[in-house]
């Protein structure tokens, strides 16, 4: 699953020289439009208990052979235990944003899954008025940007204060990502927040279009200009080359390019989308590399986000990032998002596959 700057990763699997179209051909469709999901219907997921001899993998063959007697005796018990029977899941569909490298952007799947989950929670009498407070995502394979993505939303629980949903993002029956999302009734409680790190104001920094002026890197220019989120890097962007300071932290100001409706879950979806642009850049920066490095092979593996306080994605948000570790071809990025007044809005974690080939 691709993440990071959706344009700069062209330099990964796809050769820079291949793409020669004019910018207009790659205009990114508006994020608000693709969050307006269409409800497709419902699916039924049934659990049953199979005969233990049915095509087990080699590793468990022996276990299953020895467990056959137990399993047979336990079939009825197991059917009850695993909740055999039918469950109903609602299904939504949304279009994909066109991307220069023809693969769906991870942030898009995350944002659409959040909207899909939120619609089923809001529709539930118990869930109405429960804002999103966390998501955990596993990215499996990237999708095709020409096709719609389907979101199957299964209820995991609707408790006294929390509602939990599991969302499967699918294309043509292939699982692209699994997003679990939790919603909680507003509640008072202990309150503290780590202060916002010092950073120059967004207004004092060049926007990426200005920063890229004169740089022979048309792809990043095109995508960043056409993208729904405006970005301003405190330590300089990584679209056109590496930076001399090899530190595992950075700050990026971001905001939606256009005003947004007041619906809090739309803002949460935008922030989740935007987090996927830059959360791994603290790893790249630490190792003196950049999105434009032709050796870079990169993919998002997972994503976790905790929404601490409501915030607006159409006002400046500082995304402060740090990488505690990279090893074994993977790097972990941690981030915090602050409103310009210093309010801590969200915390983020993402592990990415990051390799330099050749």
């Amino acid at each position: 699953m691709r993440s990071g700057d959706p344009c700069a990763v062209v330099s990964g699997r796809h050769t820079l020289g291949v793409v020669t179209d004019t910018p207009a051909a790659y205009a990114v469709s508006d994020l608000l439009d693709i969050l307006d999901l269409r409800e497709v219907g419902t699916v039924h997921t049934g659990w049953a208990v199979a005969s233990p001899s049915e095509s087990p993998t080699a590793a468990v063959t022996a276990d299953i052979a020895t467990a056959t007697a137990t399993a047979t005796a336990a079939v009825a018990d197991l059917a009850v235990e695993v909740g055999a029977g039918s469950r109903v899941a609602r299904v939504f569909a949304g279009p994909s944003q066109k991307q220069r490298y023809q693969r769906t952007f991870g942030g898009q799947l995350l944002a659409q899954a959040i909207i899909a989950a939120g619609r089923t929670v809001a529709a539930d009498p118990a869930g109405a008025g429960r804002p999103l407070h966390s998501t955990h995502t596993t990215f499996l394979v990237s999708g095709a940007d020409a096709d719609e993505v389907h979101y199957v939303v299964e209820p995991l629980s609707d408790g006294r204060s929390f509602s939990t949903r599991r969302v499967s993002a699918l294309q043509h029956g292939t699982l692209l990502a699994i997003v679990t999302a939790s919603f909680q009734e507003a509640s008072p409680g202990l309150d503290h927040a780590e202060p916002m790190p010092a950073a120059p104001s967004a207004e004092s920094l060049p926007n990426v279009a200005e920063a890229l002026a004169g740089v022979p890197e048309p792809y990043a220019v095109v995508c960043i200009l056409d993208g729904p989120i405006e970005l301003r890097h405190v330590e300089g962007h990584l679209y056109a080359g590496a930076r001399p300071d090899h530190v595992a932290r950075q700050g990026v100001w971001l905001r939606s390019r256009r005003p947004m409706p007041d619906d809090p879950i739309i803002h949460a979806a935008f922030l989740a989308y935007a987090s996927d642009y830059s959360i791994l850049e603290s790893v790249l920066r630490r190792h003196g590399t950049a999105w434009s490095d032709p050796r870079l092979r990169q993919a998002s593996l997972d994503h976790a986000m905790w929404f601490h306080r409501p915030g607006r994605a159409d006002e400046w948000v500082l995304h402060a990032g740090h990488s505690p570790s990279a090893s074994g071809g993977r790097g972990l990025g941690l981030g915090r998002m602050y409103a310009a007044d210093g309010t801590l809005l969200a915390s983020i974690a993402q592990e990415g596959m990051l390799r330099l080939k050749g």
Partner: protein, 359 residues
């Protein structure tokens, strides 16, 4: 068991008042709330020694494979997109450690789910794929008297990664939902946060010594010796009294109290188990709250863990934690686990529900 007899004797009141309350709250799963009967410890089956407590944990992690279940997903009529057909998850079963409150300890079901998933990941061309991450939601509280079924879906086996989804199930309902990922060893960029300075674990009081300040020393000794994980708080524990400083960070040395088998899955599982104990303490410390505070209503909501380097859980591990935020009845803890020689083995994040109820 001998433990029950001891607890039923002169120590019962002290233990029930203090330690059962602490035990009941620490790392309790979603919904594990929390009126501990005075005599609950007399019903507990506690191991007789440190070695027994580790053997008991290993037994809990030694799951039995029951066979395959079948999940059928019928697509919406006329929509081949969502017609997923059938999948055949593998089902394991395991038992629980007894808890004072009757609820399964979150770290236990997390560790068992990790083991269940790992047992379905086979070496590819002779190359094993160790776990590198897990993400779990504690959906409901578990019953410690009832076996837990672990339904493992083999979501994907790719060229270098394998992905699994585990649902821990009791009475037909999911108590924990976890995704985890395994990767064949690879080279790449390498860096890590340095280990912060910390006093030597041998210079920090043991749990028994620390609890002895508040309790009959024999009661403290009895209690401390029966846990599989030894914890030594660098800034002092907050079981009975709040910390001296209202800081949203702390460090704990921890390790299994006996040697573990040479199996990386077990070491990863024991680190996951141990990580759930003190993860929310930076939030409590920041707000001057002790576990024993009768107003405290805690529950773990989720848990994420990234294994950066080979896990080893039976040598000292420095677990450094901080809380970036608490709000809306929830608090977030993030942590890092270093081996004693400074290697960053794992990063951890957990959100908990933390309410202070008056009256």
């Amino acid at each position: 068991m001998a433990a029950a007899g001891v607890a039923a004797g002169a120590l019962a009141n002290v233990l029930a008042n203090v330690l059962a309350n602490v035990l009941a709250k620490m790392g309790s799963g979603m919904g594990a709330i929390l009126s501990v009967p005075r005599d609950s410890l007399t019903l507990m089956r506690l191991p007789d020694s440190a070695a027994d407590s580790v053997a008991d944990l290993l037994d809990v992690l030694d799951l039995t494979c029951l066979g395959e279940a079948r999940i059928v997903v019928e697509g919406a009529p006329g929509d081949e997109e969502t017609d997923l057909g059938e999948s055949t998850p593998i089902v394991f079963v395991g038992r629980s450690q007894k808890q004072a409150h009757g609820r399964v300890f979150g770290g236990q079901v997390l560790a068992q789910s990790l083991v269940a998933a790992a047992r379905t990941v086979e070496p590819v061309d002779g190359v094993a794929r160790p776990i590198h991450s897990l993400h779990a939601y504690f959906v409901r509280g578990g019953d410690d008297n009832h076996p837990i079924r672990f339904v493992v879906e083999r979501v994907r086996d790719g060229a270098s990664f394998s992905t699994r989804r585990v649902q821990a199930v009791q009475y037909g309902q999911t108590i924990l939902s976890m995704g985890c990922s395994f990767q064949e060893p690879a080279d790449g960029m390498d860096h890590q946060d340095p280990m912060p300075p910390a006093p030597d674990p041998d210079d920090i009081p043991t749990l028994a010594e620390a609890l002895g300040e508040h309790l009959d020393p024999s009661a403290a000794q009895f209690f401390a010796a029966r846990r599989p994980i030894e914890l030594r708080h660098v800034e002092g524990n907050i079981y009975v009294k709040p910390g001296r400083q209202r800081a949203a960070r702390q460090s704990v040395w921890l390790k299994a109290r006996a040697e573990l088998p040479d199996d990386p899955v077990i070491h990863a599982a024991v680190l996951a188990y141990a990580s759930d104990y003190p993860m929310l303490e930076p939030v409590l410390r920041r707000h001057g709250v002790a576990w024993q505070d009768p107003r405290l209503r805690p529950a773990s909501l989720d848990h994420a863990m990234w294994f950066h380097r080979a896990p080893k859980a039976d040598d000292w591990v420095l677990y450094t934690m901080s809380s970036p935020s608490a709000s809306g009845g929830r608090g977030l803890g993030v942590g890092r686990m270093f081996s004693a020689d400074g290697a960053l083995m794992a990063s951890v994040a957990q959100e908990g529900m933390l309410r202070l109820k008056e009256g």
